[in-house]
């Protein structure tokens, strides 16, 4: 990184902190090429998410919601523009740096839970803690605490196949929050659940936001789910169209 870039980065970090935004996305573009075809998935997206916010990202299929979420998680890189989370310009990070950054700052909840089927609930939840220097007992304490938060302390020894969809998703949420990340990113977290389980998961996310101060960005198709967020952001054809504060 050149001195000019460092100073630019420091300036923008300072500006972001001044503005109180945890997530700061500026003029982000994402282009995919499939053969000779060029697909502009994101076209100049700007987004600020303050610490402690709960944002629902909505939009039709192909609007770029998941792509934006992946960029915020550091799983993909923008073709242009900047992505800053807290003090970190993640669009400038290398692979190894991004992996380390994710382990400290991001919890990710998938639509299909994506628990490891060969591990028990507690072992699944423990995964992010394996990357820390915590002792076995400390890891156990953390895992037990978050399983209690998600209401599954009595299912810690169960394998994913022994859990319902709602319970699996709660384990996935426990895994996402166990390392106390800065940002919780959810990709259609209720998309595969029945109504009752959906309510439970939304209650849980809302509690995490309101009672534990977690900053959450949730991609959803579901207006009912989006209604639980503090703010709804609409994406269409790769551009932010509107915002609604609730």
């Amino acid at each position: 990184m050149s001195p000019a870039t460092i100073s630019q980065s420091q300036e923008s970090t300072a500006a972001a902190e001044t503005a109180g935004a945890l997530v700061r996305v500026r003029d982000v573009h994402k282009v995919y090429t499939r053969g000779s075809e060029r697909i502009d998935v994101l076209q100049g997206v700007n987004l600020d998410v303050p610490r402690g916010d709960f944002v629902a990202l909505m939009g039709p299929s192909g609007s770029g919601k998941t792509t934006l979420l992946n960029l915020l998680a550091g799983l993909d890189r923008p073709s242009g523009g900047t992505v800053q989370i807290g003090h970190d310009r993640i669009d400038k990070m290398g692979e190894g740096e991004l992996a380390r950054w994710r382990s400290h700052h991001v919890g990710f909840v998938f639509q299909l839970y994506n628990l490891l089927p060969t591990l028990t609930a507690e072992r699944n939840v423990e995964l992010p803690l394996l990357l820390t220097s915590l002792s076995v007992n400390e890891r156990k304490k953390h895992v037990s605490a978050v399983l209690t938060v998600v209401g599954l302390s009595d299912r810690s020894k169960h394998y994913p196949r022994q859990l319902s969809g709602g319970q699996e998703q709660r384990v996935a949420i426990a895994r996402a929050i166990v390392a106390d990340p800065t940002l919780l990113l959810c990709d259609e977290p209720t998309g595969d659940l029945d109504r009752k389980s959906e309510e439970e998961i939304l209650d849980l996310l809302q509690a995490l936001n309101r009672e534990h101060g977690k900053t959450i960005i949730m991609v959803t198709h579901n207006a009912h789910a989006a209604a639980r967020a503090r703010r709804i952001v609409y994406l269409n054809k790769g551009q932010l169209q509107s915002e609604a504060i609730q």
């Binding site: 993909d76 990710f108 994506n114």
Partner: protein, 383 residues
């Protein structure tokens, strides 16, 4: 250590497949251990050959005799410090399958040439004083449950002057080996008794064993001796004991090369089997690996986890195979006498460990690289 449950859970994912792969590795290493012991047994003579000993045989063939009168002439050759002679008796004890080496020799000279044969002094004295006495190695005594004082009847092709071919010997001593690899399978008796009792072949011996002062002069001394008997009725061929044993072993075929060829094929097949298991295993959990990367597992860590998994599989199968081979080899010579020194050499265990490591790395490298290079977004999209 903290990643061990994660690695172990992956091995338990498809238990039957893991078990079969484990068994195939186990069989490969069982074969490895066992065949190494076989190869070692065939070549043990070469390994334990004395560096200061030469063997002199008839130039035409080892089965043709030499005159005992050569002994004095050989002793005169500069550089030679001692000489003994020996004869192959080739008799049968009770049953033709009870094969072992029976040697007619001058006791004093023979024991001087083979100091690694440890015979208690009182037994040695008893043997020297007993014309029909014999000694045998501990392996042989244990094999046939012989004890000192036993009378050992041996049927031979050699006819005695009394018209029979039945030779009887008193067992006067049982020698042990100075090292675990010393040959304790020989049955040695007085040449004098043999020569005086037989109808044919008086004054002839089978071969000579020659001790030299300086092993580095072996080629010159051998040439000098052979030159001395050149153009005589009994031309000679003198070689180091090691070369002699090598030639003897090669009469059976190049066992080492045959075993290397078999093991190469076996390990190549195992490489494909275990490699395929690992490839399949990684292919099946692309999404899980992507999830681990999402959580923050670095590419290097993913590579290490897959490699360790592969190494664990190879180590479990390999160590079980080597252990089983060790247990089987401990039961002793599977041929009942043809391979008396049947042990697993310490070096082969180390070689086995290296083979385990190489197998683990070879089968794990490709899937590990594949897992490392996996792109999270694409992998999750595939799910």
């Amino acid at each position: 250590m903290k990643f061990l449950p994660l690695i172990w859970s992956n091995l338990r994912r498809k238990r039957v497949r893991t078990l079969f792969t484990l068994l195939s590795i186990l069989v490969a290493f069982l074969m490895f251990g066992y065949l190494i012991a076989v190869s070692n047994a065939f070549n043990i003579g070469v390994q334990i050959a004395g560096v200061d000993r030469l063997v002199l045989t008839n130039k035409v063939s080892i089965i043709l005799p030499l005159p005992i009168s050569d002994l004095e002439r050989i002793e005169q050759v500069p550089g030679v410090t001692d000489v003994a002679h020996a004869d192959w008796f080739g008799g049968i004890y009770q049953d033709p399958k009870n094969f072992f080496a029976q040697i007619a020799a001058d006791p004093e000279r023979y024991l001087r040439l083979y100091p690694e044969f440890l015979l208690p002094e009182d037994q040695k004295k008893a043997w020297m004083a007993d014309r029909t006495g014999a000694i045998c190695g501990k392996y042989l005594a244990d094999r046939f449950h012989w004890k000192i004082g036993d009378r050992i009847p041996i049927m031979a092709a050699w006819q005695k002057k009394d018209g029979t071919t039945s030779w009887e010997f008193n067992l006067d001593g049982i020698y042990t080996g100075a090292t675990p690899t010393t040959d304790t399978t020989q049955f040695i008796f007085h040449y004098k008794y043999f020569d005086e009792s037989r109808v044919n072949g008086h004054g002839e011996v089978g071969w000579y064993i020659i001790r030299i002062a300086h092993p580095d002069q072996a080629p010159q001394i051998a040439d000098r001796i052979d030159a001395m008997f050149a153009n005589s009725d009994y031309e000679t061929k003198t070689s180091t004991e090691k070369a002699f044993m090598q030639g003897f072993a090669k009469q059976v075929g190049d066992i080492g090369a045959i075993i290397t060829a078999i093991l190469s094929v076996v390990f190549f097949i195992i490489l494909l089997v275990a490699g395929n298991t690992m490839m399949q295993s990684v292919r099946e959990r692309v999404t899980e690996l992507a999830v681990l990367k999402t959580v923050g597992f670095s590419n290097g860590l993913i590579l290490t986890l897959v490699l360790v998994e592969s190494l664990m599989l190879a180590a479990m199968g390999g160590l079980l195979g080597l252990g089983l081979a060790w247990l089987l080899i401990r039961r002793g010579d599977p041929t009942g006498g043809a391979l008396p020194i049947f042990v697993m050499p310490t070096g082969s265990l180390a070689l086995g460990m290296v083979a385990i490591l190489l197998l683990g790395l070879a089968t794990g490298s490709l899937p590990a690289l594949q897992a490392m290079r996996l792109r999270v977004v694409q992998s999750l999209r595939r799910a």
